[in-house]
């Protein structure tokens, strides 16, 4: 049983086994997981190179400025969209993307290296769970490598901390503020709106009112859930509360001039601007929050973090991500109870997940997402030198473009979405591609051995037989990687 639980631990809770890992943790798989529920003491070495949000946004600002200069000089056509930060396919957009691509490549390289090399894969999965829960996307050019910065600044340090801390860090991160447009959320009765209306002729695009995007998504996607008990008035009022939460443009500009912008952290770049804040008390979920500037928003977030709907929503999402698309309600209740009892202490919630017998059902319930599949493959086969551009291309071909979830709800987490014929086909292609790269080279890459090492007791007889009958090591490995045993966890 312990070998089986060890195999479940590395696959369901981690990014798959490395050679020898199942045996190594077989003594006490639960304890191996629990030991990972401690915050990182420092940023892992593989991630030292992840661009700061300042570097990412500074790079975007410079690229945008260059395009605007060219447009002004008549050397380039104006952007098709009124808002040049919105994704479109025109030339200006393309040239901005080209300029910022190396940054995203650097960031993805770090993400891959960390995921396949870490000794704490459960922690890594939790980090990635949070960065997908509080999703920001490079689909918005302005965000670009800020997705990785967000993960570094928000999801990673607070992965097993209090939910409220995560929620605040997320809601104040420059990438989130840009992605969900809170930098355009202006109190209609604020001095800033009055000023901007006065110059509307010169600056017709300047925002002069609410943008409720962030407020709505915090309620719907980050905390209560869509049926969590809020209405439109709550959204509107919460948006008012969040006015003034934005990016310190002056700091960014000054740092951009002397080149020190790359050093600017999320904290350096967040700024509450009273000038743009909607004055007055605002009622959210039946409670009036007095106008205390930034504090007003922090108090709403505190309420949301402790809301029973949030406990339920987060519990369900964790159970769905780690255990099953349709998890047992008894499991969800256990997580929800831990969330409430420990005031959103995520170490306790994930501890409850480890303790729950429902999480150890040997029957695989989840279909790996493309990136999980890729990481499990690279990790299991000990591949560290594959060109990151090709990995990014591959995982995009399989449907999960790096750093680019299709929307603020993140990448899909259910098999129905990923089990499309085209995606399944591309996984088969990728399995063969990788297998050809590693087979015929080393003795320890013989598919039967690999299957045993990476799946342990989870390797079914049918898959083992198919592998052993393969016509070449490459084909055997490809069958293993594409098999249901490997694709599901």
């Amino acid at each position: 049983m312990t070998m089986l639980n060890a195999a479940i631990a590395v696959r369901r809770f981690g990014y798959g086994a490395r050679f020898g890992e199942i045996e190594a943790i077989a003594k006490d798989p639960r304890n191996w997981l629990k030991a990972q529920l401690a915050p990182e003491k420092e940023l892992p070495a593989a991630l030292q190179n992840v661009p700061n949000v300042g570097e990412s946004m500074g790079m975007f600002a410079r690229a945008l400025a260059r395009v605007q200069q060219r447009v002004a000089r008549g050397e380039a056509p104006p952007t098709a969209n009124a808002d040049p930060t919105m994704p479109n396919q025109d030339a200006a957009e393309q040239s901005i993307r080209e300029a910022i691509r190396p940054l995203a490549t650097r960031a993805y390289s770090a993400r891959v290296a960390q995921s396949i090399g870490t000794d704490r894969p459960f922690y890594e999965r939790i980090v990635h769970f949070w960065s997908n829960h509080f999703a920001v996307s490079a689909q918005k050019a302005q965000v670009n490598a800020g997705v990785a910065a967000f993960e570094k600044d928000v999801a990673r340090p607070h992965a097993v901390g209090r939910f409220e801390t995560l929620l605040v860090a997320s809601s104040q991160h420059p990438a989130m503020l840009a992605y969900l447009d809170n930098i355009s959320n202006i109190g209609p009765n604020s001095p800033a709106a009055a000023r901007l209306r006065a110059v509307a002729e010169r600056r017709p695009r300047a925002p002069t009112g609410l943008n409720e995007n962030l407020a709505r998504e915090i309620l719907e996607l980050h905390t209560l859930g869509v049926n969590g008990g809020y209405g439109q008035a709550d959204v509107t009022n919460f948006a008012k509360v969040l006015t003034g939460w934005g990016i310190n443009r002056r700091a960014a500009q000054e740092a951009g001039r002397d080149g020190s912008i790359a050093a600017l952290s999320a904290r350096d770049l967040f700024q509450f601007t009273p000038f743009a804040h909607e004055p007055g008390a605002h009622v959210v979920l039946g409670r009036a929050y007095a106008d205390q500037g930034e504090r007003q928003g922090l108090e709403v977030l505190e309420t949301l973090a402790r809301h029973p709907s949030t406990a339920k929503f987060i519990a369900l999402k964790i159970a769905k991500h780690f255990v099953a698309d349709e998890p047992p309600s008894s499991l969800v209740v256990k997580l929800e109870t831990a969330f409430k009892r420990h005031d959103g202490d995520m170490a306790k919630v994930f501890g409850a997940l480890i303790d729950a017998d429902e999480a150890w059902d040997p029957q695989p319930q989840k279909y790996l997402r493309p990136e999980e599949f890729m990481f499990a493959t690279l990790r299991g086969l000990n591949i560290h030198d594959f060109p990151v551009e090709r990995l990014a291309f591959s995982v995009e071909a399989m449907g999960q473009r790096p750093f680019s979830p299709p929307g603020p709800d993140g990448f899909a987490d259910n098999a129905d979405f990923w089990l499309s014929p085209d995606f399944v086909w591309r996984r088969a292609e990728w399995a063969m591609l990788i297998a050809r790269n590693v087979a015929n080279v080393a003795k320890d890459m013989q598919p039967n051995r690999v299957g045993q090492a990476l799946l342990g007791p989870l390797l079914t007889a049918a898959t083992a037989e198919a592998i052993s009958r393969a016509e070449s090591p490459a084909q055997g490995l490809a069958l293993l990687l594409a098999s249901a045993d490997f694709q599901r966890r």
Binding site: R390, F393, S394, A397, A415, L419, S420, P421, D422, F423, V424, W425, R426, A428, E429, W430, A431, M432, L433, R436, N437, V438, N440, V441, K443, Q446, P447, T460, A462, T463, A466, R469, A470, E471, S472, P473, A474, Q475, G476, A478, L479, A482, S483, A484, D485, Q487, R488
Partner: protein, 399 residues
């Protein structure tokens, strides 16, 4: 019979003589650099008796049973001589036999004779004696021995990464189309079977994808059904690399789908499809080499042959002795070279396999000796370590 036993072992000295000959001057490159090598590795174990049936062997029909005669829709065997023929799905290859630019060596095998694909391919590619005894490949060692000072890549693997045969001390590279390569039919069939047995959702998705891709292939104007779809462009690419003025000396190509455990007489699926792909690829390669074909040597090898008799599902299982092909403008072709063991039951290895009578290393050494004038010492000790007993086969190329 038109072959003579051991005849190829009596033509000693040709390698030394060849080194003194001026190189052909048809292509852009002259000197030793004009002499190109392409090696095609057929993965899965080509059934040598399907590709090159020994129809003149007195025991052919009795030994081969249901596989003795091709199905009508495949077409009659294409005769090479009184004893041997070619499968009709190798029509381009047959034309090269007719024009004297291709020969086959039959009843050959690497030193490995234990019927595992994984080990067999390792020995085939490494050029060693035991599986996993060497960490690099014979093609690389041959290149390094011939051009020890070269700074340009001497070899190229037409694959996502460098095949073992091409790994080693010499400077080599690899190339593959940048998009994800389409999985081969045999792999998809196996994966489909595995999914059918284990996972209904995955089985359904894969089946739908296959159907969609078949339609898409037709819309693209790509060749549908008959094969050549994935190998031919790679073969053309290999020719393009080799004919480049700064190109490498050797290219390695891989083709899988030869593990014909079932229904190998199906006209254009499974083995039939793989043979068609090989055939189309070889023709495309020759075409791509242009005038330099005259200086080019192509070696087609596989890890082992298969059982002589069919198994219970119309296919053949892993065997031992099989066939290798030697092609090129300089090849003394039109022949089948074999120390033919015969198909009488008593002559089969373990009562089931074509008995290997020619060490495949002899073929490879003979070809390299003639083509690149490698010294016997280099061939015996470096390129194929511990192979002194496998003497180079002489007379493969025109004198």
């Amino acid at each position: 019979m038109s072959f003579s036993r051991r005849s190829f072992l009596t033509l000693g000295g040709a390698a030394g003589a060849l080194a003194a000959f001026p190189t052909f001057a048809w292509g852009a490159q002259t000197g030793p650099e004009a002499r190109k090598l392409a090696v095609v590795i057929l993965r899965g174990g080509l059934d040598g008796l399907q590709a090159v049936p020994a129809i003149g062997d007195p025991n052919w029909t009795a030994a081969r049973k249901a596989l003795a005669e091709p199905l009508p829709q495949i077409g009659d065997y294409l005769p090479i001589n009184e004893t041997f023929a070619l499968d009709a799905r190798l029509a381009n290859l047959a034309a090269l036999f007719k024009s004297g630019e291709a020969l086959a060596v039959h009843a050959t095998c690497s030193p490995y004779q234990r019927r595992s694909h994984f080990d067999g391919q390792n020995v085939l590619e490494s050029g060693g004696v035991e599986p996993f005894g060497l960490n690099d490949g014979w093609i690389n060692r041959a290149l390094a021995a011939k051009w020890p000072q070269a700074e340009r890549p001497l070899g190229i693997g037409i694959a996502p990464q460098i095949p073992l045969a091409l790994r080693g001390p010499g400077n080599v590279t690899s190339w593959a189309p940048s998009r994800l390569p389409a999985p081969d039919e045999d792999f998809l069939r196996r994966l489909g079977n595995l999914y059918a047995a284990t996972d209904r959702d995955l089985a359904a998705a894969l089946k739908m994808a296959e159907e969609a891709n078949d339609i898409a292939a037709g819309m693209d104007g790509m060749e549908g059904g008959g094969g050549g779809r994935r190998f031919e462009p790679l073969a053309r690419a290999a020719a393009q690399f080799l004919t480049d003025p700064k190109g490498p000396q050797a290219a390695v190509l891989e083709l899988s789908g030869f593990d014909s455990h079932t229904a190998q007489m199906t006209p254009a699926a499974g083995l039939g499809r793989s043979m068609r792909e090989l055939d189309a690829g070889l023709a495309a390669f020759k075409d791509g080499m242009g005038a330099q074909w005259a200086n080019t040597l192509v070696l087609v090898v596989t890890e082992f042959g298969r059982t002589v008799a069919p198994n219970g599902s119309g296919g053949t299982d892993h065997g031992t002795g099989g066939v290798a092909f030697v092609l090129g403008g300089a090849v003394k072709g039109g022949r089948v070279l074999a120390d033919w063991p015969g198909l009488a039951p008593a002559n089969l290895l373990d009562g089931r396999d074509l008995r290997p009578t020619t060490d495949l290393r002899s073929v490879l050494k003979g070809a390299l000796a003639a083509h690149w004038a490698l010294s016997p010492e280099a061939l015996d000790r470096v390129v194929f370590p511990d192979s002194a007993k496998a003497a180079p086969m002489m007379g493969l190329l025109k004198a």
